[in-house]
């Protein structure tokens, strides 16, 4: 059984449009203008049990709306949806026992009371008594010292680690993470990623991760779903994404002596390479490789055999971030 199975999932909102000016405001009192917006447009998603999937898209692309439908908060306008075998909206109480959710921007802990009390209440809410799992999560995420502090006194990183524990207290088979690492420092991020990997490996927890931080996705997910204006524009492996869109590796060279650009261009005439020169330091050159047909070593061996005096070199891969930026820009 797939953890998530969505077919032609659609959500429309009625947006109220206000008219301009004072007379407009008066007219609005009696007759309102509504406009229908399609936030998610006939999306098909299928995620097998145990997979970690990154869900990305620009602000307003419809990510949060999708997550809200998948978690049963919003009712889809149309389409088929089965999550963990349930209809999330209509079988809510049964369904939500099988999922965990972390909203990076909202706390699910009780603000004014100690963290420990929230955990106890959640254990009662989910009717579980698995102190061993809880103790282990507390240890791995290193929050033992925070347990008796009220949530409002925690730092963002401390709170987020507690949120994670809270969302996994009932050992759900499916975990939704909506921007869990927003505003966190590198160490906390690494700690959280490590923890998520462990949970996935040990309990086979399916994880759907929404984020703007692509390093999260690189660190955790093998598959990416990309959303734009309510439509899925990419669904597949991260490596494939890089191959398809990630053209243009770069080689930065520092030479022992100045060489003219024309000379370098002649040397690599046979290969699809363009050269550029650093304006400030005339010994620095950059070779941009086009497509995936040529490797860095081919270029380098050609240069070395032609006697170009290379002092230092650096090969720059295209980052996922750049790829995604490119996709967003090209729409």
């Amino acid at each position: 059984m797939n953890a998530i199975e969505a077919e032609k999932l659609t959500k429309e909102f009625q947006i109220y449009q206000s008219r301009k000016g004072l007379t407009g405001a008066f007219r609005d009192l009696f007759n309102r203008n509504y406009r229908t917006i399609r936030a998610v447009n006939e999306v098909n998603i299928s995620i097998p049990q145990g997979e970690m999937v990154g869900y990305i898209g620009e602000n307003g692309a419809g990510k949060s709306t999708t997550i809200k439908m998948l978690t049963g908060i919003l009712q889809p306008t149309s389409g088929e949806l089965k999550v963990n075998g349930f209809d999330p909206h209509n079988q809510r109480e049964e369904f939500v026992k099988t999922i965990g959710v972390v909203f990076g921007q909202r706390s699910q802990l009780w603000w004014d009371i100690a963290v420990q009390e929230s955990f106890t209440l959640l254990q009662k809410v989910y009717r579980v008594d698995n102190q061993k799992l809880l103790d282990r999560m507390i240890e791995v995420l290193n929050i033992g010292e925070l347990l008796d502090q009220p949530v409002r006194k925690l730092s963002l990183g401390q709170r987020m680690r507690c949120e994670l524990v809270a969302s996994l207290i009932h050992q759900p088979s499916l975990l939704f993470l909506d921007e869990p690492t927003i505003g966190l420092d590198v160490l906390v991020k690494e700690n959280i990623r490590q923890f998520l990997r462990e949970m996935n490996k040990e309990f086979g927890t399916t994880i759907l991760l929404t984020t703007h931080d692509l390093t999260d996705i690189e660190a955790l997910c093998s598959r990416v779903i990309m959303l734009d204006k309510g439509n899925i524009i990419y669904d597949g492996g991260l490596t494939k994404l890089k191959q398809e869109w990630g053209e243009g590796k770069k080689i930065h060279l520092e030479l022992d002596q100045e060489i003219s650009l024309e000379h370098l261009g002649q040397l690599t005439e046979a290969l699809p390479v363009t050269w550029s020169k650093n304006e400030a330091n005339t010994k620095l050159f950059t070779a941009s490789l086009q497509g995936n047909s040529v490797t860095a070593s081919e270029v380098l061996s050609l240069l070395v055999t032609s006697g170009v005096p290379i002092h230092e070199m650096q090969i720059q891969e295209v980052s996922t971030e750049e790829i995604v930026r490119k996709i967003y820009q090209e729409g």
């Binding site: 978690t71 009712q75 809510r92 939500v96 026992k97 909202r106 009390e117 209440l121 009662k124 009717r127």
Partner: protein, 264 residues
């Protein structure tokens, strides 16, 4: 299930304790309110033995009891629900395997119990020393009062839930919250006993749920109603409990369908 609601009540206790200053200032505000109304009515009576079936002492007792009962049944669930809807944190509640409204009811109950034991009862003892009031020692009347008070609490909570849920449809109901608060205080008989209103208004009030909140329990204790008088009164409270529960449920199912979680 029960363990969960017990825990909800416990958490609410802890939250109330986290805001101790509110608690202390509440005691002062309630004492001042009781004092003001006792002296006001003292002036209105001006030596007359009884008005509308209330003697001066019964009136003072009625005021003290009504305010102390209010400490028990009053809560801000309407505002909490409205706020949770407005800032979108209702989403967190919906992904929990419980009934949102029932948890709210028990949060209100936890708050009520906290105030009853740490506020109303000590407050009542203090007030009975200061003002000329007379409390019955008949345990049957007290039992009747407590049952009636519990129904008063439920009716008030239901009114709060309904008003709070309005936020689902209009997304900002600050004005309604204020109006409701004033209406409940006035029409429930907290400020003026229902029997003091003109006959026409009394007839209208009989069709509203508000007197079930305060007037019926307070009147039960002050007048020491006999069982024959008490049963119809509690019947009215019970009927309102059911009617309002149905309205709550209807609102909630409708609200869940049209829910738009704002922000994020």
């Amino acid at each position: 299930m029960l363990a969960m609601y017990k825990e909800v009540i416990r958490i609410r206790f802890l939250m109330m304790l986290a805001y101790r200053v509110n608690y202390y200032s509440g005691i002062i505000i309630y004492s001042i309110n009781i004092g003001a109304y006792v002296f006001l009515w003292h002036a209105v009576y001006g030596g007359k033995p009884s008005i509308q079936g209330f003697t001066a002492i019964q009136m003072a007792t009625y005021i003290a009891i009504s305010w102390m009962a209010r400490a028990f049944y009053y809560n801000n669930l309407d505002r909490e629900i409205a706020e949770e809807i407005r800032d979108g944190s209702v989403a967190i509640q919906i992904i929990r395997p419980y009934s949102y409204l029932m948890v709210k009811v028990f949060q209100g109950f936890g708050e009520g119990l906290f105030r009853l034991f740490l506020f109303s009862i000590p407050g009542m003892i203090i007030v009975s020393f200061i003002y000329p009031i007379q409390l019955t020692t008949n345990p049957l009347v007290w039992t009747q009062f407590l049952i009636s008070l519990l129904f008063g609490f439920i009716v008030n909570v239901e009114v709060n839930l309904i008003v709070g849920l309005f936020a689902f449809f209009i997304l900002n109901n600050q004005g309604i919250l204020w109006a409701k608060r004033f209406l409940v205080d006035l029409l429930s008989g907290l400020i003026i006993p229902i029997s003091f209103f003109p006959a026409v208004l009394q007839k209208i009030f009989a069709f509203l749920p508000f007197q079930a909140i305060s007037y019926i329990p307070s009147n039960t204790l002050v007048k020491g109603l006999s069982i024959h008088q008490w049963l119809p009164a509690i019947g009215v409270q019970f009927v309102w409990t059911i009617i309002l529960a149905l309205i709550c449920w209807g609102f909630w199912s409708k609200a869940r369908k049209t829910l738009i979680v704002q922000g994020g």
